[in-house]
């Protein structure tokens, strides 16, 4: 696109982002501050993710963007088209043929490979913010690995609901050292982060933080010995492809109580239907 640098951001900004990313990869799960730029979309729509994607995108890359698991929602379509126009890169909806996947709220069902990078859009990078409003204090807690307060939150969940009822943004311990917010992915997706082959990058634009999980890094969901972490999903079968193991969305179909459950990962669902006889 004329008048814009490759992938929208200027090279100095991308250089700054890459330095931040290197630091983030070097300290898995540790939040690194960066100078987030104004982007041509509102905060909360993926300004952090889009900057990280711009910094790692090359001419030979193939980009996939998903929002709530779907390739065809407004946010996904807009960001995909944004990079198609400003960088001229190939885009795809196929998880397997993408080299960079920018995501909001989901990790694809298809297992990612070493050749892929997954970029998460993060609204709130600080896992302790509900417990401790002061950022000075949370930084100190991270520095001293003083995470007892997080377990108090889990204790409260079990005391009140009989189980740990956090269904998304379920806190994880990365590399046995840093407590990390996995962004608002469902707890169902947490096990996929553990020793994932792909590089995982997290960008929070409004909060101006970047963090990362390098390939094959241990990512463990916090729990109690007698109340272990469980990845929960709706106890239904996908109405379109019949999958019994994928994460499902509940879709209301009329105003008389009609509803159906379908795969939240649209690419996963479509490829299952294609390959079915």
């Amino acid at each position: 696109m004329k008048g814009y640098n490759f992938a929208y951001l200027d090279e100095q900004t991308k250089r700054m982002l890459r330095r931040t990313l290197l630091k983030a990869v070097a300290i898995p799960g540790h939040q690194i501050p960066f100078g987030a730029r104004e982007m041509p979309l509102p905060y909360g729509w993926g300004t952090g993710g889009i900057q990280v994607t711009a910094a790692v995108l090359g001419r030979a890359d193939t980009l996939k963007v998903i929002d709530q698991g779907a390739d065809d929602t407004t946010n996904a379509v807009s960001i995909r088209r944004f990079f198609a126009r400003t960088a001229g890169v190939a885009t795809t909806t196929r998880t397997a043929s993408a080299t960079i996947i920018q995501t909001r709220h989901r990790i694809p069902e298809t297992t990612l490979t070493e050749a892929q990078i997954i970029v998460y859009q993060v609204p709130q990078p600080e896992p302790l913010y509900q417990l401790e409003p002061s950022r000075t204090e949370t930084r100190r807690m991270h520095a001293l690995a003083d995470y007892g307060a997080m377990h108090v939150r889990l204790y409260e969940q079990v005391a009140r609901y009989g189980q740990i009822a956090i269904s998304y943004d379920y806190p994880v311990m990365v590399n046995g050292r840093h407590l990390m917010a996995p962004s608002p992915i469902p707890a169902f997706d947490n096990p996929k982060m553990h020793r994932m082959r792909a590089l995982q990058l997290f960008g929070a634009g409004r909060e101006k933080r970047i963090y990362a999980v390098p390939p094959y890094t241990a990512v463990v969901s916090l729990d109690f010995e007698d109340h272990p972490f469980r990845a929960s999903r709706a106890a239904h079968v996908c109405a379109l492809c019949g999958d019994r193991a994928s994460y499902l969305d509940e879709v209301v179909t009329d105003d008389r109580g009609g509803r159906m459950f379908i795969c939240s990962d649209t690419d996963h669902c479509a490829s299952r239907r294609e390959s079915a006889p």
Binding site: V152, Y155, A159, F224, E225, D226
Partner: protein, 253 residues
């Protein structure tokens, strides 16, 4: 186990502590008395490593370890000490408690910070400590916002003692409570401290509290220690004019 030499602390031009020496032996209860503004609470914060003194040093000896200087300790070590071997009971329990977390969660926090990861055992321990401080175990899931002042203070004590610390700092633990509640709380503190063999530095302006709980007493006036000795000796036969004034003002009531 804890000894301080030549402590000095100033708030701007105001001298809060001057040349204060304190020694505390294992299992001993030491009361620090004096009027408001005499430097009692400042002394407590300096001894606990919360405030760095302008002069002097505080030394702490672990059970079978070497003596370490409290203010030279790296922050992680001091924090670990504060959530395991040491405890701090605030005058206002709302400062120490998490008011939006249930009583059980409050008591269990120190256990979880120390690495406990078994919900059932944490809860059982929390229930045991609620019973110890005479809070109905049925209220384990209630938030402290629904508790009375006396219950809040007892909850804070349970939360502090759950890791069975060796040394507890108490800042006016009975302040702001009515007399009958105070009496029960004092009785409770005395019983627990005796049974667990905890050493306590107790700050109070109430000589009756000091007499009831403490074996030794330090009298402070304007940042200086004016008299110290065995509680009964000091209170029955005060030598310093200021101590005499304190004691006589109590007897007058």
């Amino acid at each position: 186990m804890l000894s301080a030499r030549g402590l000095g602390f100033r708030f701007g031009s105001i001298t809060a502590l001057e040349a204060v020496d304190v020694d505390l032996w294992p299992g001993e209860v030491l009361a620090v008395v004096g009027e408001s503004g005499s430097g009692k609470t400042t002394l407590l914060h300096v001894l606990a490593g919360r405030l760095r003194p302008d002069a002097g040093q505080v030394w702490y000896r672990e059970p079978d370890g070497p003596r370490t200087e409290v203010h030279a300790m790296p922050l992680p070590l001091l924090r670990r000490l504060h959530r395991s071997d040491w405890g701090f009971v605030e005058q206002d329990p709302r400062q120490a408690l998490r008011m939006d977390v249930s009583a059980g969660g409050n008591v269990g926090e120190r256990l979880m910070a120390a690495g406990a990861r078994h919900y059932g055992r944490i809860r059982a321990e929390a229930a045991r400590w609620l019973a110890e401080v005479e809070i109905d175990v049925a209220r384990i899931d209630d938030r402290p916002t629904t508790f009375s002042g006396g219950m809040l203070q007892r909850l804070q004590i349970a939360r502090t003692l759950v890791t069975e610390p060796r040394l507890v700092f108490m800042d006016e633990p009975t302040g702001g409570l009515d007399v009958s509640v105070q009496a029960r709380l004092l009785d409770l503190i005395r019983t627990l401290v005796r049974r667990l063999g905890i050493a306590v530095v107790l700050v109070t302006h109430d000589l009756a509290v000091a007499r009831l709980l403490a074996a030794r007493i330090v009298v402070m006036q304007r940042g200086r220690v004016v008299e110290d000795g065995l509680t009964d000796q000091v209170l029955d036969d005060p030598r310093h004019p200021y101590t005499q004034l304190l004691v006589s003002s109590v007897l007058a009531t």
